[in-house]
Symmetry: C2
Subunit: 366 residues, 2 copies
């Protein structure tokens, strides 16, 4: 955290060129535009929007998302929810199967502290475990997670979804909150088909379904093609990254996060080495074969990372090549995992630091 005596401090008013590297930086105007653009789309289609805070893990940013119109937040683990509840957030959905007494005890305590806690389940084991810890006095809201093609967690069929919804509905300490899917980008038709079938079956059973929660940034602007959904969840859109450019969600100009790095070696004419490695950019490829886009050097290829070095192949660069000591910027493949590596995040406007926020929910064990 920021009270670490060895932290290298950045402060409002610092120029970006004066910052020690490697360090992720967030452009304030890009950030605000990303928040506004997505909220405006959701508003225009009457879809409730629930930002996923895993991307930034910073309560002040979630407050900006809610101020813009978001209806609540999405966390991925209890410790994140604890940090955000302490910061005043009340409508928190944790999209995870929560199991085991260590976690359930904390989940129960959190449910006493805030009014709008919700979780998901995709199995009778998870539902029964939750049921043991909550009571009719203040039931826990549980949504059924559906696998609509994403291939991660989730019940496999609408029939299974309804069966599990019934189990939740009958558990005295639980309240059925609705359906949720782990999204598969570009599969609006598949998602709509699964969810609408499940809704019809729920209606037959007389089980009310308050929320139908769809999600994901890559296909975010197709959220209106899933009319069965009442809300949409997305995280990455707030910063954007190279994978979102490839998905067609945004342009490089709309990537608010850059990783600032310094060229520390030019061992050969075609090779540059920077001080950003896998402990700054992460090794997330997300289908790419290289580790980020170098701003201003479109033909430079980050071919390899060791922990504190990145190796850049310049052989295809026809114009200028960066020199030793030059600071460069990289659009990372995946912004959410970069956030998770740093205790603080630096924000700037026109090259001047505006604020430094603690990445408050990083590094916490569940």
């Amino acid at each position: 955290m920021s009270d670490n005596p060895f932290a290298v401090v950045a402060k409002p008013g610092d120029k970006l060129g004066e910052l020690s590297t490697p360090r992720p930086i967030i452009d304030e105007d890009g950030l605000a535009a990303n928040i506004a653009r997505v909220q405006s789309y959701m508003d225009s289609h009457g879809i409730a929007f629930r930002p996923h805070i895993k991307t930034h893990k910073i309560p002040a940013l979630a407050a900006e998302q809610v101020a813009a119109g978001a209806k609540g937040i999405n966390c991925q683990k209890i410790s994140e929810a604890e940090v955000f509840a302490a910061a005043g957030f009340d409508d928190i959905l944790i999209t995870f199967n929560i199991l085991g007494p260590q976690k359930l005890e904390r989940l129960a305590a959190l449910n006493e502290r805030i009014g709008g806690l919700k979780v998901v389940a995709d199995s009778a084991v998870t539902v029964d475990g939750l049921s043991d810890w909550f009571s009719a006095r203040k039931p826990l809201v549980v949504l059924v997670e559906c696998d609509t093609g994403g291939g991660r967690c989730g019940v496999q069929t609408p029939e299974e979804a309804v069966s599990l919804a019934g189990r939740i509905d009958k558990a005295p300490g639980l309240s059925f909150g609705g359906l949720l899917n782990y999204p598969k980008p570009g599969a609006a038709k598949e998602v709509q088909s699964f969810l609408s079938s499940a809704l019809a079956l729920l209606e037959n059973e007389g089980i009310a379904c308050p929320i139908v929660s769809n999600g994901g940034t890559p296909s975010l602007f197709e959220a209106h093609l899933v009319p069965a959904a009442t809300e949409h969840r997305a995280g990455t859109y707030i910063y954007n990254d190279r994978s979102m450019v490839r998905a067609g969600h945004c342009s490089f100009d709309e990537c608010a996060m850059h990783v600032l790095a310094t060229v520390v070696s030019r061992p050969t004419p075609d090779r540059a080495v920077i001080d950003a490695g896998s402990k700054a950019l992460t090794s997330d490829l997300l289908g790419f074969s290289d580790f980020g886009s170098v701003v201003g050097y479109p033909d430079a290829v980050i071919t390899g990372l060791s922990e504190e070095h990145g190796v850049i192949d310049l052989s295809k660069c026809s114009g200028d090549r960066p020199a030793i000591g030059d600071k460069i910027r990289i659009v990372p493949n995946h912004t959410c995992v970069v956030s998770n590596l740093f205790d603080t995040m630096v924000f700037h406007r026109d090259g001047v630091v505006t604020r430094v926020e603690d990445v408050a929910a990083r590094g916490l064990v569940w």
Copy 2:
């Protein structure tokens, strides 16, 4: 750090089965054996040993390495060196080209605080930058980094090495400390050839070369095949990981770090989902096509990671398959990057927690 009010605490005496997951754990006996085995090899060949602390970032572990016979430590960035200097370490080699006033100012301050600070350089730009900040009163020791086939930083030829050594030797604030290479596993002959040529040329020039520093864990037990080297650096050997098993350096039984995870979903007969994703295991593949080895399930394949979920393909498992709620252990592909994700590290013996150490040097910007 451990004073974070939201940290989920583990403490001596806790049983591993009671810990919240995901969490890396270190077996005390495995740790001690790894330290002893490598130090014993180095001692038997008369090679000075310099452990790289990037793997663990924990001063107490470096103290164990030094107590076993290591002659000093290796850091990869100034903030690491600052943390370890404050913990009492005096012989610290930072294997990085250090550039820019933000870093050089701190390097100069560190050189006042400890007696045995050393850095590397591979270019005249780096040497001249260092030279500006140090004086004859307390010169900075600088080694020339050589690219002996590793393809990262380093001068490309023995002739370049000697030319840069001469430049360091003539700079009033610097003292030539020797040669260093970024290792290429399995290339002892190549490394020896480069270093011995450079040594002969240095002798011709009348430049003394106190240290010749070779490195790396994968080929660590071939260190004696590079007689030109006076010391060896290695980090990963203290914990070991799946990539070191593949390299032939160790067996799975000698991997002291496991990542403890819980099976949270079994959506299909062939799919298990665990609560360890890229924010626990990292996406480092290091040439593998999957994300770690599942202990006790040799045919299980961790095919994909999202941030807090890992997807395991069980289709090739002939025997038992893990059930929802089961705790499993994973040998990660790369232990050094896993360390870097967690604020604290849990140690255990026979299933009982022995101590919890702050990963003191993680998350620090340079």
